[in-house]
């Protein structure tokens, strides 16, 4: 097998006595769109900064394309970064920003111009080359930052919450565009975000991080359908976590069935309670139920079939049912 694009082994990093990254190992394949997902303080950005070379691990090894780069400075590593604040050079034009990496590596001027132009065309900004970063919108700056990194044809592109500063609509457009660009150029992407929908939409694989360790690593489908821990079950989407006879279950709201108490049921398992809230969300309706057993459970039904539930008002006695196959036992799950 060919060398992995990025290989991380037992990496540890402390800041001022706190463990920020606590023994992380992972391997990213060439051409993969790999996401590190977690809440702030989970260590994902620190891990990215160690791959870029801005931080040095206290222990462990980082390899790029089979070469140990753990102690290498940032400027000789075959990686480029798209920063959260874009970090565009304010005194240089858009073209000069994109050319910067080629210029410091002494690529001849004409070749530099051509490659920068091609990179700007890829992000559809070829017509704004003369502008200064201060004259661009947030979305345009974001794309300049992307072009400035990609133009160097790095082995790995590191993206640190690159869409964090954009509004929702633009963010969703950029997700599609980023994924398309990644497929076209075939560069390995390592993407850091705290937004689970963004991670699901773009990634080949997701590493879910919490407190400096990887809680679970898998495809979007795996981490959603088979969460390995209560943390993952809650962090990715919404989960109902119930403990019954010593086993902890994670049940997705859309997998649960809702009936009036006493109605005949098609599901195997069934529990009763009181409907506390009905929340209309446009595409879906969210039902909040207080089970007699004590827990709060959330059921989501699509509004295409919500007519069935027209008579369900707050205070109604209801039954929540599910098939055992739709639940995930968290204790038995293997990382």
């Amino acid at each position: 097998m060919a060398d992995a694009a990025v290989e991380i082994r037992d990496v540890v990093k402390h800041f001022a006595g706190n463990v920020v990254v606590n023994g992380v190992s992972l391997s990213v394949e060439a051409g993969e769109f790999f996401t590190m997902l977690g809440p702030s303080g989970s260590g994902k950005t620190t891990l990215l900064r160690m791959i870029a070379g801005f931080e040095t691990p206290d222990a462990g090894v980082i390899e790029l394309q089979g070469r140990d780069v753990t102690r290498q400075p940032a400027n000789v590593r075959p990686v480029n970064t798209v920063f959260q604040d874009y970090a565009l050079f304010p005194h240089l034009s858009v073209t000069a920003n994109v050319e910067y990496g080629l210029r410091v590596r002494r690529v001849p001027r004409t070749q530099r111009r051509e490659r920068a132009q091609a990179a700007l065309e890829m992000v559809r900004l070829a017509h704004l080359g003369e502008r200064r970063p201060g004259q661009l919108s947030g979305g345009q700056r974001q794309r300049v930052a992307l072009a400035r990194a990609i133009v160097n044809e790095p082995a790995v592109l590191l993206l640190d919450e690159p869409l964090g500063a954009l509004d929702l609509k633009l963010r969703q457009e950029m997700q599609v565009e980023l994924k398309a660009i990644q497929r076209r150029v075939g560069i390995t992407f390592i993407y850091v975000t705290h937004d689970q929908e963004e991670a699901m939409a773009m990634s080949d694989r997701i590493a879910i991080m919490n407190d400096g360790v990887i809680e679970q690593l898998g495809t979007p489908r795996e981490v959603y359908e088979r969460p390995a821990s209560p943390f993952v079950a809650r962090f990715i989407g919404t989960s109902n976590i119930l403990t019954r006879s010593g086993t902890t279950w994670s049940l997705r709201p859309e997998r649960l069935h809702l009936d009036l108490e006493g109605a005949p049921s098609a599901t195997l398992h069934r529990e009763v309670g009181v409907l506390r809230d009905v929340i209309y969300l446009g595409m879906n309706t969210r039902f909040v139920i207080d089970l007699d057993a004590g827990e709060e459970v959330i059921v989501v039904r699509t509004n295409a079939e919500v007519g069935r539930y027209a008579t369900f008002a707050a205070g109604t006695r209801v039954a929540v049912g599910w098939n055992v196959a739709d639940g995930v036992t968290l204790d038995a799950a293997v990382i």
Binding site: A52, G53, A74, N75, T81, F83, D85, V104, A149, N152
Partner: protein, 265 residues
């Protein structure tokens, strides 16, 4: 109506402050054209002859040249030492960094007489004769401060990810300095240098203790006023100094003004 009254009141107030600040300078400029040796109002005979007298006075010329040399040299030294100090303090993450930052700024807060006496005793003790060089050293102590302050303020306002981005794109430390750091702090260096020059050019107290037998221009003015024999000539020299000082101050204000505008954009 009440609003109008308030507004004209404000204008009156502002004008009053401006008169308070600039009337003395205007007086000196006016009297530089008075033919009489004794200043009295109104001026009866207007003349520009004092300008010719001052121009041909070798003492004034020598003092002017000495002031210019001291200011240029002190500014140059301050540019090098002040910006290096700012880089060091900005980059380093060591214990007592804030204390050191304060120590750099202290000379400008310290009364000039303390700096002057301290330098004078040091030179005496070390057996260094007072000369142009001791003036330069004295002026450099407070010129460093304005350069340091300007540069470190700029560095603190500059996002550190810019330097990381430069390294990330393959630039060596030297390339980052040349292509990114220097262009970003260039205007801070220029405005720092202009302020340092202005400070040095009209400094009296520290100069008194470090100048020995030579006169800088402010020292010459100070002496001439005390003797009281050449008051019209003093008026002329002061008028010229005001005109000369206006240039660097105006440029410095323009530069810092433009900076705040572009950083807002």
């Amino acid at each position: 109506m009440k609003h109008r009254l308030l507004r004209s009141g404000q204008w009156l107030w502002v004008s009053g402050v401006l008169v308070f600040l600039f009337a003395p300078i205007a007086t000196i400029v006016l009297f530089s054209f008075d033919r009489s040796n004794i200043e009295s109002w109104p001026i009866h005979h207007w003349t520009t002859s004092w300008y010719s007298v001052a121009w041909h006075d070798t003492a004034v010329r020598q003092a002017f040249v000495l002031s210019l040399k001291a200011a240029v040299a002190a500014t140059a030294l301050a540019l090098i030492l002040g910006s290096l100090a700012a880089f060091g303090v900005h980059r380093a993450r060591f214990f007592g960094r804030d204390t050191i930052s304060l120590l750099f700024v202290l000379p400008i807060a310290l009364p000039g007489i303390i700096t002057g006496v301290a330098l004078n005793s040091t030179f005496q003790w070390a057996g260094i004769n007072l000369s142009l060089w001791t003036i330069i050293i004295g002026h450099t102590t407070f010129c460093i401060v304005v350069v340091y302050n300007n540069v470190i303020a700029r560095l603190r306002r500059t996002s550190s990810t810019l330097f990381e981005a430069s390294a990330d794109l393959g630039a060596s430390t030297g390339q980052t300095l040349r292509f990114i750091t220097f262009p970003l702090i260039a205007t801070a260096l220029v405005s720092g240098a202009l302020l340092a020059f202005a400070l040095s050019f009209d400094e009296v107290i520290v100069t008194t203790f470090t100048a020995g037998a030579q006169n800088t221009l402010p020292i010459w003015i100070f002496g001439a006023i005390r003797l009281g024999q050449q008051l019209p000539e003093v008026n002329v020299v002061v008028t010229l100094v005001v005109l000369i000082m206006l240039i660097p101050i105006a440029v410095a204000v323009r530069l810092t003004g433009r900076d705040t505008m572009s950083s807002r954009a």
